[in-house]
Structure formats: C-alpha cells, structure tokens
Symmetry: C2
Subunit: 190 residues, 2 copies
DNA sequence: ACAGAGTGATTGATCGGTCACTCATTAAAC
DNA sequence: GTTTAATGAGTGACCGATCAATCACTCTGT
C-alpha cells in the first residue's frame, strides 16, 4: 500500500516534469498530468493541494538531485583544479543523462511559480559550491573576481556546454566537456 | 491613420513584452494584453491573427533590435580583441538598459511558442557574429575550439554578466562588464 | 475461517470561472 | 458615400479544484 502511494506520487512528478518542460506551467492542465501519470484527475490533489505545490515539489526534488550529483567525489580530488573539474563533469554529465530535468531547471529556475521559500530551501544545498569558490579565492587559485560572478559563470557555462552537446551533437562528447572546462578554467583561474 | 495604426501595434507589442515576461505565455490572457495596451479585446486580433502570431512577431522585433545593437561600431575597432569586446559591451549594455527585452529573449528563445520559421529568420541576422568567430579561429586569435561552442559561451556569458549586474547590484557596473569580458577572453583566446 | 464494520486512498462527474477568438455594429478617415 | 479600423458582448471549449461515491484492504469478534 505504501508502495502504491509512492508509485503514484512519483508517476505524477515524472508526468509533470515531462509536460511542464514541453508545454510550460499554464500550458499544461492538471488533467493532462493525471492522464500521463495514469491516475484520476482528483488523485493529483491528494498529493499536491494545488498545481503550484506540484511544481514547487518537483523543483525541490530535481534541484536536490542535482546538488547531490554535483558534489559527488569532489572532496577526494587532490588539487583545487581537479575538484572544480570533477564538479564540472558531474554537472555536465547529469545534464546530458537527464535532459528533461536539465531543461526543467533551466526553464523554471527564475519563473514566478516557484516560491521564494522553495528557492531559499534549495539554495542551502549549494552552500558547498559557494564555499569551494570562496576557498579558491582565499588561497589564490582563482582570479580576483566577485565570487557570485565566478559561481554564475561556472554554472551557466556548464549549462551552455550541455546545450552545445545536445544540440550540436559533436562526435566526441568527452572532448567537448574537456574543452568547456578548459575555457572556463583559463577564464577564472589566477 | 498610419501613425495611429503603428501606435496601436507598438502598444500591443510593448504590453505583450511586459506581460509575457512577467507571467508567461499561457499565463497572460489576450484580454490583459489589450487592456494594458489600451485597446479593445478585438483590436489585438486585427494586428495579430492569433496569440502565437503576437509572440512570434514580438520575438522577431526584439531579436532584430538586439542584433543591430550588437554589431554597432564593431567594424571600426582596430584589433580582433577590441572587436569582440565592443560586441560584448554592446550586448551587456543592451541587456541592462532593456531588462524586459533581455528577460523575454532568455525565457522564450527555446520555447515551443516560437516557430522554427521565426527562429530561422532571426538566425540570419546573427551571421556576422558567427563570421567574426570563424575569422578569429582562422587567423589564430581564438583557441582551437568548435565555433558553435565559442559563440554559445560568449553569448551566454554576456547574459550571465547582465544577470549578475541586475541581481547582485555591484557598485561598479563597468568593472563588472570588464571583469566578465576578461574571463571570457582569457578563456577563448589562443 | 470468515462476516462485515471501518479506513483511507481513489475516482470522475461537476462547478464556477476564464480562455482565445468572432462578429455585428459603430466610428473614423478620405 | 464608401472604405477601413475599432469595438466589446458573446461563444464554446477548457481550466483548476471539489466532493460524494466507490474501491481495496485491514481489523475485530465470533
């Protein structure tokens, strides 16, 4: 029984992810989401009281997954550059393997449907990333730029590379990932 | 008469720009756009047969304006780096001075409401930019990366810097623009 | 072993409201 | 006087959300 509950909730989130990304928030009806998830229209509202709660829940889940993947094996790297590169690869590989989630985050990270509360809670999971940049500035690994500028350039460039790989379809994806990191590292390093 | 016609069409585009950016495509009703523009609900459909025609027309206008601003005074620059920097500054300054248009382009450049036809027509106005990158690769000013990767990184980074300036509100905007270009130039230059 | 009351998840018909778009009428321009 | 632009009430379709009925399943007393 518990199993079924989780099944339906997961199915609803998966359906919402697909449809919100394809057609936007207002462009997707709750009925379409329910149908795609294989449940009745009323069932959606048992799990998510409103349509906004659904997209906020989805955003929370996806961003949480990304932050966990992003930080994986970073601390076991030896040099600072290797740590940053590990994070870069984690980010890009997640984006390639999870196109739908990647697009969803891009579309809705600054949309009005995501509440500031959700945004704040999610932000806390990325403290380790900001700390790594602060550390790099402190020990002189990074150039003398504002930390928020470095984090933004790093994160957005990783998204640019995912876009490039998915859209331009280079023969060698790893080469593209390497090239992308090289550009960013040359740019932000001391 | 011609004047009034242009007035109403411009008012509709301006209202649509504001509302689409704030609330999304499906989140904005044509009635709201008409009201904001100060015309009757039926008038909108005299100028744009469907809501999709309206957003496509708007996208065409805004992207066209951006491409014209972007290329301004670029050819009068002496060195290759100066040409690229001119384009960078044009891009960032336009973004800062036209926040609403800047946000609109970011939100709708890969949305399903913009037809592939609109996208193709708009793309033609950016040929000069791709040519400049190809030129830089040919004469060894730029590092050996795929041209599409360089154009994407350059364009997206300029957007990142506009975001940074608007959101983080640094005391010295020109410094931020300079820093941003320095990072990108160090990254993509030979 | 089993009847049947109890429980909470699930359902889909239904609701008031809003949507994009139409069209008969009016007003303006020449 | 004719043409052209502008109007806004009206249209059927669809929206998010509700809720009484139904369902699968558990538990208890015999």
């Amino acid at each position: 029984m518990k199993k079924q509950v989780e099944d339906k909730k997961a199915a609803l989130l998966e359906a919402a992810l697909k449809l919100f990304t394809e057609r936007g928030f207002h462009g997707t009806s709750t009925a379409q989401i329910s149908k795609e998830a294989g449940v009745a229209t009323g069932t959606l509202f048992n799990y998510f009281p409103t349509k906004e709660d659904l997209i906020n829940g989805l955003y929370f889940e996806v961003k949480g997954e990304l932050s966990r993947k992003m930080g994986k094996d970073v601390q076991t790297q030896k040099t600072y550059e290797e740590k940053l590169k590990k994070m870069w690869c984690n980010l890009v590989e997640w984006g390639i393997e999870n196109q739908d989630k990647f697009l969803f985050v891009g579309q809705f990270c600054s949309s009005p449907y995501i509440t500031s509360h959700t945004r704040e809670v999610v932000m806390e999971e990325y403290v380790f990333f900001h700390d790594l940049v602060t550390e790099g500035l402190a020990n002189g690994e990074l150039g003398d730029y504002p930390p928020e500028m470095i984090t933004s350039i790093f994160y957005q460039s990783s998204r640019t590379i995912v876009d490039y790989i998915l859209y331009s379809e280079p023969q060698d994806r790893n080469k593209a990932i390497e090239d992308g990191f090289q550009i960013v590292w040359k740019g932000v390093a001391k």
